[in-house]
Amino acid sequence: MIWLGWRQQRTETLIAAALLALVAAILVPSGIEMAHAYTRDGLAHCVDMTQGPTCGNVVSSFEQRFSKYTALIGWFNLVPGLFGVAFAAPFVLELERGTHRLAWTQSITRRRWVTTKLALAVGSTVLVAGALIVILVWWRAPLVRLDGRMDGSAFDSQGTVIFGYSLFALGLALAIGAVWRRAVPAVMVAYVGYFIARIFTDSALRQHFVAPRSLTWPAGQAQPAAVQHAWVISQSVVGPLDRATCLKQGAASIKQCLALSGGSIHSVFVPASKFWVLQGIETGLFGGIAVALIAFAGWWTLYRE
């Protein structure tokens, strides 16, 4: 049965491998370049004192140089979903073509067929998702040391969430496909669903996973250590900031104006120390829904007829 499962998802395995190769082809050269620049420019010793003037320049020139890649990395949010729906396709295709009836009327039990097929899909998805995580974590390492990994696309491409995302896409495509029994529309609808779930989580849900902290500090001072590399949800200026007054006092920049007018900065943030808690919650959420969807797909397939 395992042989049959492999034989049937040969195309999808090749698609996933090609996708992974494409990701590697894009990221490996720039990753090497970035790691090289990081050592050459001596960025390591700047990590904890980004406020220093020389280091600040070095850091910002480094960041500027690689900004085209950091902008690009957002696109890699598409990939875990593609992996998931790709490995859902063989199962749904069988239901669509009716070839599951062929397997079910051999000597194996239907339950064994369903569990083997689903386990294979899950295993393959986890495997390619793991490979994607390895590539992304390695690629981003220098940037993480400089800026942390709590913000937006950094958080999405680090840690374990990618397992959750890709399994969620897999589960959604399997569940829709088990009911609908049409592979192409099921995969497409599931992918759209994956996208909506991701955007919703990123923009509205994640900030409720842990209670954010808030800090207020005088505008002239350096950022407190707790805010460093944190995920800043909102930041505002408190105090008597008045543009006209500032200008009268001859302030050159906003920062100076703040210091002169005696304002302070109020920040609501999730500190970097909560990274794994957040990762765990989000992986658990997506992974848990995925398990429920996959179980539903199996149950529906077995007991509907």
Binding site: R7, G98, T99, R101, L102, A103, T105, Q106, S107, E305
Partner: protein, 294 residues
Amino acid sequence: MNAIRTEGLGKRYGMTWALRDCNLEIPAGSVTALVGPNGAGKTTLLKLVVGLTRPSAGSVDVLGLVPREDERELMPRLGFVAQDHPLHMGFSVRDTLSLGRRLNPGWNDDLARQRIEHLRLPLERKIGQLSGGQQAQVALTLALAKEPELLVLDEPVAALDPLARREFLNSLMEAVAEREMAVVLSSHIVTDLERVCDHLVILSDSRPLLVGPIEELVASHRLLTGPVADPAEVARVHDVVRATHTKRQTSLLVRANGHVYDSVWELHEVDLEEIVLAYLGYGVAEHEPRAVTR
């Protein structure tokens, strides 16, 4: 012993019954034709037999076991060729045989290979590149190599041209001759079935209309022709299946209970096809093989 026994078997999809009040006994070792128009419930009955669907009412007993419940014991003893014989189009013939070998502990690889060789099918050829007739033969091979005690075929020849149909039925007959097994074969085409089958089940409007050994059925049915008359007299003794009247004569297809003595009627023997068509409501006189096209 019966290969299949059903009692009050029924299957409902939503509000409509695809099959109901089905009481059947199909003896072991028989070759049974399951005949009826499209939508009569043939596929549903066969799916219930092989456990691809569950009954909504009544029970079905296959080789002394309950399909689905006794899946583990029953499936190795059953061969099934589904409607349109679904196979993996991207698989080669060799892969398809490999599938059979890996999924069936009782697989007879020699039998499978000999059949494929006999059919002159290249092992490396993709299933999708074979003709419909060849695909049906591969599907049959897959079912036969399990060495089943009961072989169930759902419309195996419906999609085939007359030549492929004949070849398919020939290889089925050879297999039946070589090995003791019961065969149930559904079809909406009556032609050729008499050559292969010895039992008949007519299914119409989700219910079995006529069940029995073909020889007996043919022996007991007669066509009576005579001057225009009321069939009531005949109906008192015999079962009138179908009455047709023209200006000059009346034709009655009857299931005779004993001899028909009345000298008013001229007696004719009927063949299986005429019987089936009469039961399915087609005129006795106009008995061209009226295969219902999809």
